[in-house]
């Protein structure tokens, strides 16, 4: 680091002026505004307050806090963050602390060194934006603060103040010139699969998806979320809508209100799957949901790479899904699963907590003599014929929830129907379990793929029948066939309970959304999903060769050198000054004289040169002197009359054209 620069930045001449501070405040305000959704309200509010404080202190230097007050404020702010996040120092808390400290830094910013330090911190804050959200909107929103911040930095490097257009234009130009190298780095910089260290717990708090248990209200809450769960691209034709059951966790264990997955320690046997008919091949792009489930169409025949099947044929990945992943799979809709139940499976699939729901047990007593199929039909018939209503806002159930639901409220969502159905079956002595997952999906005609949203979350039942194995029974279909045939928007047609995008009305909005989603899908695939695997896959496809890490580095370096050379050429070449018409004609005249070795010396004016030229070319004396005088008249006279000007120019043009110097 050069010594001189250090000394100069510390000298009092490097005190900031008002303009500097206004620029810095504006940049930080913009960054704060974009970060607002990621910060608790009190953090945004106090940052606003500190910013306003600094703003008023620009004109009233006495308002600047002294060192002790600042230290106290920093301590208080740190404590407040600690309390606000209950001691959990993860992603959210670090951001809040960083933002607060950056704004507090403003309150001691007097010199250029503090100013640049704050700008560098602010750049870092822009980068942090993507920890929370990587949508196209966030990407677009990151551009204005980058330009403003760069302009702010340019501002401080200048000697004399320039207007805001100059600063913003230069900042934009610098950033634009940086784009080519950025693109090369983005595509070719070797992507390292993370994480490098433990990731704070709250890093994935925003992700939603199916849980590992089922309680009343779980799925209907999820249904209110219109975000995409996954997208499916089928290789051939699509299965009919009523076959689109996307299998997730299977729940065996009933405990009051709650249904759970069986403990691994029980050691249930792997069920055997037999399939017939044609296979459906497809690729799923699963949004991160911070759990292990890999959703697959009932019934998958092969576990996707990086995952495996549980004994009850739901697919799980080895790692929680914390970034968007893509996997290919194949499924059959005609299948037989687990034809014979073992002893443990038998016990677990009939398990019920004792002493609950007496009215339900009372009801199934009369079913004792019926066959398994008849018991199922009896239950479905009950749902179909009695006034059961499919709704997202069922009444709250307390003790003996199945009793209350079946005999009193009769209003519920898929989870109510699935759990009460499985309860009925088990009470009637039929092995049954709940399967959670998603049902249906919306075809995007633009991209020819299926969008499955969180609002398509669903729960259904599987009953084990002698000789047939686990058979899927969807009691919701008995209550609301539209839910299964046409999706949730049809089932809850005239209700505004559903999120806007899961609803059937507003066709134009829907169409616009589908267009947007297909762009978003490509964004997800190509920009956000561009990881180590995708990078090699893409580059191998592009070059037709198998590339290694060293190739990547080689091509990256080569491309950067080339782009830098090109950029340097455009930056360093001398841009010719634009000549006005008179100058252009004068240049012709100079070229003519140059042929006879007459050139103006540096600093020699037109008239001086002309008289010198006239002396050595006496035969052209008249012409040369006339040219020089009319050129001077055009260049330097205050003549504002355009008519006179153009007359002189015409005269100059003809004079120069007529000047034909013959070499002696």
């Amino acid at each position: 680091m050069p010594k001189a620069s250090l000394k100069n930045t510390l000298s009092p001449t490097n005190l900031l002026n008002k303009q500097h501070l206004y620029w810095l405040l504006a940049s930080l305000a913009l960054i704060l505004a974009i970060h607002t959704p990621n910060l608790p309200i009190w953090v945004t509010a106090s940052c606003g307050l500190f910013g306003a404080w600094r703003y008023f202190a620009v004109n009233q230097p006495l308002l600047m806090p002294n060192r002790w007050l600042l230290m106290l404020l920093s301590l208080l702010v740190g404590l407040a963050v600690l309390l606000s996040f209950k001691g959990q120092f993860g992603r959210d808390a670090s951001l809040s602390l960083l933002v607060l400290m950056t704004v507090l830094k403003l309150l001691e910013t007097r010199f250029i060194r503090d100013y640049i330090f704050t700008v560098v911190l602010a750049y870092f804050l822009i980068g942090n934006l993507f920890l929370f959200n990587q949508s196209m909107l966030t990407f677009a929103l990151s551009i204005p603060p980058l330009i403003l911040l760069t302009a702010t930095l340019i501002h401080v490097s200048l000697k004399s103040p320039q207007n805001w257009q100059f600063l913003l234009k230069l900042a934009g130009k610098l950033l634009l010139q940086s784009v080519p190298v950025m693109l090369i780095l983005f595509v070719l910089f070797p992507r390292i699969p993370g994480p490098l260290w433990g990731i704070p717990q709250d890093a994935y708090s925003g992700m939603s998806g199916l849980g590992d248990n089922l309680k009343f209200g779980n799925i209907s809450n999820l249904t209110l979320n219109s975000s995409v769960a996954f997208r499916v691209q089928f290789k051939g034709k699509l299965p009919p809508n009523n076959q689109l059951y996307w299998r997730g966790p299977v729940l065996w264990h009933q405990n009051g209100n709650e249904w759970l997955m069986p403990s691994k320690r029980i050691g249930l046997r792997n069920e055997i799957l037999a399939t017939t008919g044609t296979a459906f091949d497809y690729t799923i792009t699963l949004e991160p949901h911070n759990r292990n489930w890999l959703l697959l169409l009932d019934m998958p025949t092969l576990a996707p790479a990086g995952g495996n099947f549980t004994h009850d044929y739901s697919a799980v990945s080895n790692q929680p899904v914390r970034k968007r992943i893509r996997y290919s799979a194949s499924s059959h809709t005609n299948y037989q699963l687990g034809t014979a139940l073992g002893e443990r499976e038998q016990v677990l699939s009939l398990q019920l907590t004792e002493g609950e729901n007496p009215r339900t047990f009372e009801l199934v007593k009369s079913w004792q003599s019926l066959s398994a199929e008849q018991k199922i039909n009896k239950a479905l018939q009950m749902f179909r014929e009695q006034p059961f209503i499919y709704t997202l806002r069922p009444p709250i159930l307390r003790e003996n929830p199945i009793d209350e639901f079946l005999f009193d409220t009769k209003r519920g969502f898929c989870e109510h129907y699935a759990t009460s159905f499985v309860y009925l079956m088990r009470a009637a002595g039929l092995p049954a379990r709940i399967v959670t997952g998603y049902q249906g999906g919306e075809l995007n005609p633009n991209g020819n793929y299926l969008i499955v949203r969180q609002s398509d979350a669903h729960a259904w039942a599987e009953v084990s029948l002698q000789g047939q194995g686990w058979v899927r029974v969807d009691p919701t279909a008995a209550v609301s066939p539209e839910r299964i045939e046409q999706g949730i928007s049809e089932a809850l047609r005239d209700s505004d309970e559903l999120p806007l995008l899961a609803r059937g009305d507003y066709p134009l909005l829907r169409k616009a959304f589908l267009n947007f989603d297909s762009i978003n899908n490509s964004w997800n695939q190509w920009v956000l999903g561009y990881d180590d695997k995708k990078q090699l896959e893409f580059l191998n496809q592009l070059t037709g060769k198998k590339l290694g890490l060293s190739d990547l580095v080689f091509w990256m370096t080569g491309a950067i050198v080339l782009v830098m050379l090109a950029t340097s050429y455009f930056l360093f070449r001398q841009v010719k000054a634009k000549l006005n018409p008179a100058q252009q004609v004068y240049q012709q005249y100079l070229r003519k004289l140059k042929r006879v070795n007459l050139q103006p010396n540096t600093g020699e004016g037109a008239l001086d040169f002309a008289s010198r030229a006239a002396q050595s070319l006496p035969s052209y004396q008249q012409q040369i002197l006339q040219i020089a005088s009319s050129y001077n008249a055009l260049q330097y006279s205050e003549q504002s009359n355009d008519g006179v000007q153009s007359d002189i120019l015409k005269q100059l043009e003809s004079l120069v054209a007529q000047l034909n110097i013959k070499k002696p």
């Binding site: 050069p2 920890l131 930095l153 490097s157 950025m182 890093a203």
Partner: protein, 323 residues
């Protein structure tokens, strides 16, 4: 001595390395910065920026954030562009050194540089300084030229070789420091530092031609004001008039034109060598201010009495070069 150089080898000192830098030298007082003479290094802000980029990159890898890579790479590329722009802001500048005016030792010499752009692009915040002296910063218009008044603190009397001038810039992002050195073979004459006291010169027995009362300083009659010039005796400064905000004024007296003063080296024999020169310089200045005729007798040179400007400078030059 050996042990000293062991603990502090000469290449640890900044000066040792300085001679390895290429320097743009002036011909006919004009120097042009060619690409080979430009040096560039990150500033401490550049280093801070790089650390920030590394943190962003590590974060992006750890959290697998694709757009984190985008910001990291865009900002890295921006830093790189800033480097090109900083370098480009300095290269191909043409520096013309104008003849320097003379000063007395210990005063600040204002070196006049005419720095011009030759590449049709405006240059911003170009800084010039003699090392360890104050920095001047100016903008230069495209194809334009700008005068820089670069101060240099003088120490010694006599012919001084100008130290090299450092030109540098950190425009546009302050992340890089590009610099170049310009050497000018021009030498500057620095007059001796006048002594502070205003002891009047002892009247010499030779050279008193006038018959009147020979008050050497010739301050009989107040004749008006002139603007203060370096070297004017403090006693001459009209503090009262100066306080009116018109700048420093010195009192001008019309001396007795016929009074001739002979300033002799021998008259200062009770002083040390440099002090003698300073004392004589003071007398010369005072005599000149009073428009008095004076002669100067030095060990190997004698200037006959006169009161012209040329004579005054000749006298000061003789004193400056006395050894």
């Amino acid at each position: 001595m050996a042990s000293v150089s062991l603990f502090k080898p000469r290449y640890f000192t900044a000066d040792y390395w300085k001679k390895w830098f290429r320097v743009a030298s002036s011909h006919d007082n004009i120097a042009t910065l060619n690409p080979r003479q430009i040096y560039i290094l990150p500033t401490r802000w550049g280093i801070l920026y790089a650390v920030m980029l590394i943190l962003l990159l590590v974060g992006s890898i750890n959290y697998a954030i694709s757009l984190g890579y985008y910001v990291t790479f865009l900002l890295a590329s921006l830093g790189n562009m800033a480097m090109l722009h900083t370098w480009r802001n300095l290269v191909h500048l043409q520096i013309t050194t104008l003849p320097a005016s003379t000063v007395f030792a210990g005063e600040v010499l204002q070196m006049q540089l005419q720095i011009a752009d030759t590449k049709n692009r405006a240059r911003y915040a170009i800084a010039a300084q003699f090392e360890d002296n104050t920095v001047v910063r100016e903008d230069i218009a495209a194809y334009g030229s700008q005068t820089f008044l670069v101060p240099l603190q003088t120490q010694q009397r006599g012919w001084q070789t100008l130290p090299r001038i450092k030109l540098y810039t950190e425009f546009p992002l302050m992340l890089f420091h590009a610099w170049a050195y310009v050497q000018n073979p021009q030498q500057v004459l620095v007059y001796p530092k006048p002594s502070a006291g205003s002891t009047s010169p002892p009247l010499s027995n030779i050279g008193q031609t006038g018959g009147k009362n020979h008050v050497a300083r010739g301050d009989e009659d107040f004749d008006g004001h002139k603007t203060y010039q370096i070297g004017d005796a403090p006693s001459r400064v009209d503090w009262k008039a100066s306080s009116k905000g018109v700048g420093m004024l010195s009192k001008q007296y019309s001396g007795d034109g016929s009074a001739i003063l002979l300033l002799d080296w021998a008259q200062t024999s009770d002083l040390a060598f440099e002090a003698r020169i300073s004392q004589l310089t003071r007398w010369v200045i005072d005599a000149h201010a009073a428009q008095q005729h004076f002669g100067l007798r030095l060990p190997r040179l004698t200037l006959p009495p006169n009161n012209t400007e040329t004579h005054y400078h000749e006298a000061l030059k003789a004193l400056a070069l006395l050894d």
